[in-house]
């Protein structure tokens, strides 16, 4: 799918749940519950997505073209046919990257004003 910078900018800043879902799918395809678990682990249990928030986000992200559903299934012994698997799209990667840069810029600015301790 072709996209422009303005398509990306139109979505920024991302809602926190959207960003976390993109992070969870960055390396591998996952089903919904796996996304919840991944986010929970990565944030040391600080963020636990509810089912409603997850699927509402997924629905919107599918519409926005950040994700797509994938037909590639894991090996049958690990699969559950009720499950749907999601994959990040190139546009999704671009948006996640842009969001990360936006946040990094913010952090840099805050640090320049002495608001954040630690090194760049």
């Amino acid at each position: 799918m072709a996209y422009t910078d303005s398509d990306i900018d139109a979505l920024l800043p991302l809602p926190a749940a959207t960003f976390h879902i993109l992070l969870a799918l960055a390396k591998e395809d996952r089903h919904g519950y796996a996304v919840i678990q991944d986010v929970e682990q990565r944030t040391s249990g600080e963020i636990r997505l509810s089912a409603g928030t997850l699927y509402r986000s997924i629905q919107r992200m599918l519409d926005q073209g950040l994700l797509r559903e994938t037909r590639d299934r894991p090996a049958p012994e690990f699969d559950d046919e009720r499950r749907r698997y999601y994959r990040i799209t190139p546009f999704g990667e671009a948006v996640a990257g842009a969001e990360a840069r936006r946040m990094a810029d913010l952090v840099r600015m805050a640090r320049a004003q002495g608001l954040v301790l630690g090194k760049a």
Binding site: A51, G52, R60
Partner: protein
């Protein structure tokens, strides 16, 4: 888990279908991983909160999408959008305006404490209702048990001097227990009390907010101040709040009646109005039954005066005429018709649009949009249209309500005009929602229900039989409602024209009238009044362009009171047997000034004084009634406590306007009043016939009156023609509104016929082409299309005629003798329906006749 499945129904069904299974699975895992009752309870609490929050958000997401989509599609067809919004605005505007007036008059409680327990009591001689005498009031008050309070009042205009220009104000003389019954507290000072009444203290007055502001500049120190009313000093004891009105909106102040005024023993001297408050727990019916018993008892006590005399007990809220009620109800009915037609028209527009968008819908279905999503989208669209129309409709209502104020009965103690308030807005909102759902739901289900993918390849020509029937039914309903509106408006218009043509018995054109009511404290001698009339009339008659001028007790139509029993000489009659005549005292020249023809004898004259024979000029019907086939001149009768001799006969005047029968009339000489008697009937209205515009005459009259008596106010300046047209003003407003409604309905129904036939023609183009190829003539095709229009119209007209006749019967008392089945009106409505059908069918028929068989086939290829 079953509970969770049920909970998931809060989500849009498309969302549930897509993700419900996985959400259940996730909850299952969580519950399995959780041990301990408390923890599981926590999980459930979180889950419920999650579903509620996200379900609302999911619906909102869809709504936003649908709204965006709706905005785009509507913007693509501005003609359709504008039509739909305007039609809705008209329907909702008409109904909101009608509701705001009807709610104001019928539904809203009057602004008094326990308003539903307030009743008016009237004397009921056979066949009509009458005011009550102080003596009868005392009987009622002492013997009835159903009421916790009973008070009386009568209206009286008074002159206020000493505050700038002298002013003529409407006032109400009340007994002490009247105002407290209404439960409204004054904003300054206090109400009257029984002690003041017993002291025979006629001093105190309570001011209305309006007069306090306009005459006393809202002075907070007004309490305790003395003001001069009709030459008597009165002490202001209270000021009422701004929105307090009683008994009507014109009353500017209330004066306490003294016990001497209340102690009149003549049970036939009826001029009080009686208000009472029914005891808690007693129904109006029970009070009525008790008053009937009391009436029977009083009949025996006063056999001469109260024979067959009953009592009317009305709720104060119903104190307006049946005519007012019908005029308003007819207006509401007509507004409902307009809304029905508007809805039918919109449903038709949307159905037609749904058909043209079949392909789009099919594509969306093929792309995975569920039926529910399509219905929802379609409903969003119709609700958006309805909301836009409804908003515009409220604006329409806002503009229309002031035009309808003539329909608010003057007899009710409420403001002149209703305001568009939250209640009315709520009504408009509900109406908008119902309208949106009504005209949206049918096309939505139809468009979603009949989709099958086979339609994609097809030329998408046919609307399908069922749908065609639905659209035809809508058009038929429109035609029926239009017929009802056309006929109702026609009947009421004929009634209005008939009333306006009724000869009032005088010539109202170029007659200026105004009032100079003399304060009787200074003018209680007849000679003083005569001098005043002489000087003013001499001055007025000298104004260039004035051909005649005279004083009269009260103008016809504007005042209907002053009705007294007549006893012809040589007969003795009980009160029940006597018949009444209306009485007026006149100066010479009154008949000439008002253009009332003198048939026999002479006018009253300046020489008819108290030492001369007491004379009367009577109307033709009076003479005919008492002395049929005899010469009335020289006949004598007892009237207003004296015996009078007929010296002249004049034409009859319709004292009560064109709609009601009038009592016969008696005119008395202005000088034949004994000093201090009948002061209420002393002439006060000046009638001036002039060939120059009123605007040039009025300032001169003002100067003349000021020269004769500098303290004398002038009020009620009106053209006599305005007084006459005011009688039918409420009707003419209503008829104009109804005609406007009927015109709108006519137009919408024609558009409906046009739309349906156009659609038929375009969807049957192929068939028409085949017929023409097979040798059908253009005439046959024209007949084919026209026939459909004629059938639609005919099927719609027939029930319309029946309903219109029923509506006519229901409002027969408004029709002033025009029959509910009036042939002229029905014929005219029928003719208009033919025109409507022709206009509606014209373009589609022409298009059908122009179909080229070759093109029709090509289009299908």
């Amino acid at each position: 888990m079953r509970f969770y499945s049920a909970l998931l129904h809060l989500y849009p069904s498309s969302f549930r279908a897509e993700y419900g299974g996985e959400m259940r699975a996730i909850l299952g895992v969580r519950l399995r991983q959780t041990t301990g009752k408390l923890s599981r309870l926590m999980v459930w609490a979180e889950t419920i909160a999650d579903v509620v929050v996200n379900a609302v958000a999911a619906h909102w997401d869809i709504l936003r999408q649908d709204l965006r989509y709706t905005a785009r599609t509507l913007a693509r067809s501005p003609g359709f959008t504008l039509t739909a919004i305007l039609v809705t605005a008209l329907g909702i505007g008409a109904n909101t305006a009608a509701f705001s007036v009807a709610d104001f008059v019928f539904l809203r409680p009057l602004p008094y404490a326990d308003a539903d327990r307030l009743v008016k009591l009237w004397e009921r001689p056979p066949g009509y209702r009458n005011e009550v005498s102080p003596a009868l009031f005392r009987e009622w008050k002492t013997s009835s048990k159903s009421f916790e309070a009973m008070g009386a009042y009568f209206g009286m205009a008074v002159n206020l001097v000493g505050q700038g220009d002298p002013q003529r104000l409407e006032s109400s003389a009340v007994t002490a227990d009247l105002l407290p019954m209404l439960g409204v507290q004054p904003i300054l000072g206090r109400l009257f009390n029984a002690a003041e009444e017993r002291e025979n203290n006629t001093g105190p007055v309570v001011l209305s907010y309006g007069v306090w502001q306009s005459q006393f500049g809202g002075d907070k120190g007004i309490i305790g101040r003395s003001i001069i009313l009709d030459g008597n000093p009165r002490v202001v004891v209270g000021v009422m709040p701004m929105d307090f009105r009683f008994p009507n909106r014109d009353v500017a102040l209330w004066r306490l009646m003294g016990t001497d005024e209340q102690s009149d023993d003549d049970i036939g001297n009826t001029y009080w109005e009686v208000l009472a408050k029914v005891r808690q727990g007693v129904t109006v019916e029970q009070a009525r039954a008790e008053m009937d018993l009391i009436a029977r008892r009083l009949e025996q006590k006063y056999p001469n005066d109260l024979q067959d005399m009953g009592v009317y007990v009305y709720q104060l809220h119903d104190e307006f005429s049946n005519q007012s009620r019908l005029l308003l109800l007819a207006l509401c009915g007509a507004a409902a018709c307009v809304l029905l037609i508007a809805c039918a028209n919109l449903a038709n527009l949307l159905l037609a649009r749904a058909l043209t968008r079949r392909k789009e819908m099919l594509v969306r279905t093929a792309l995975g949009a569920g039926r529910e999503r399509l219905v929802r989208q379609s409903m969003t669209e119709s609700l958006v249209l309805a909301a836009a129309g409804g908003t515009l409709g409220v604006v329409v209502a806002f503009l229309a309500v002031p035009l309808l104020t003539r329909l608010v009965p003057m007899t009710l103690p409420i403001a002149e005009s209703p305001s568009i308030d939250p209640r009315v807005l709520l009504f408009a909102g509900l109406l908008t929602a119902i309208t949106g759902i009504c005209f949206g739901v049918l096309p939505a289900w139809r468009s979603a229900g009949q989709l099958d993918l086979g339609g994609l390849g097809d030329g998408a020509r046919s609307g399908g039989g069922r749908r065609q029937r639905a659209r035809s039914a809508l058009v038929i309903a429109e035609v029926s409602a239009t017929v009802v509106l056309l006929i109702s408006a026609g009947l009421l218009m004929r009634a209005l024209l008939r009333l306006q043509r009724v000869d009032p018995g005088f010539k109202a054109e170029r007659v200026l009238t105004l009032r100079t009511a003399l304060p009787m404290s200074r003018y209680d001698s007849t000679a003083r009044r005569a001098a005043y009339y002489r000087d003013v009339l001499a001055g007025v008659r000298g104004i260039p362009g004035v051909s005649s001028a005279a004083y009269i007790t009260s103008l016809p139509i504007a005042a209907t009171g002053g009705v007294w029993p007549v006893v012809p000489e040589g007969r003795s009659l009980t009160r029940a047997e006597t018949e009444n005549a209306s009485s007026r005292f006149a100066t010479p020249g009154y008949f000439a000034s008002l253009g009332i023809p003198l048939r026999r004898g002479r006018d009253v004259s300046d020489t008819d004084e108290t030492d001369q024979p007491w004379v009367a000029v009577v109307s033709e019907s009076f003479a005919k009634h008492y002395w049929p086939n005899e010469d009335p001149l020289g006949k004598r009768f007892k009237f207003l406590s004296d015996v009078r001799t007929v010296v002249g006969v004049v034409g009859d005047v319709r004292m009560r306007g064109p709609e009601q029968p009038s009592e016969p009339q008696v005119y008395l000489a202005y000088k034949q009043i004994r000093d201090g008697q009948s002061l209420f009937y002393a002439p006060r209205d000046l009638v001036i016939r002039s060939s120059v515009p009123a605007a040039t005459v009025i300032p001169v009259v003002r100067r003349i009156v000021r020269q004769v008596d500098p303290q004398q106010p002038i009020s009620n300046i009106k053209m006599m023609s305005t007084i006459v047209s005011d009688v039918t003003a409420a009707r003419s407003v209503q008829v104009r509104v109804l005609i406007a409604f009927a015109a709108v309905a006519f137009l919408l129904a024609a558009i409906g016929i046009h739309g349906l036939l156009s659609f038929t023609v375009s969807s049957r183009q192929h068939e028409i082409g085949v017929r023409m190829a097979l040798g059908a003539q253009r005439g046959d095709i024209v007949r084919l299309v026209m026939w459909q229009g004629v059938v639609l119209a005919a099927v719609g007209v027939l029930p319309g005629l029946a309903i219109a006749y029923a509506a006519g019967r229901a409002m027969q008392s408004l029709l002033a003798g025009v029959e509910p089945g009036d042939a002229v009106t029905f014929a005219a409505a029928g003719l208009l329906c033919v025109v409507m059908t022709l206009v509606g069918s014209l373009l589609p028929t022409m298009r059908a006749a122009r179909v080229d068989p070759a093109t029709a086939f090509r289009a299908d290829a």
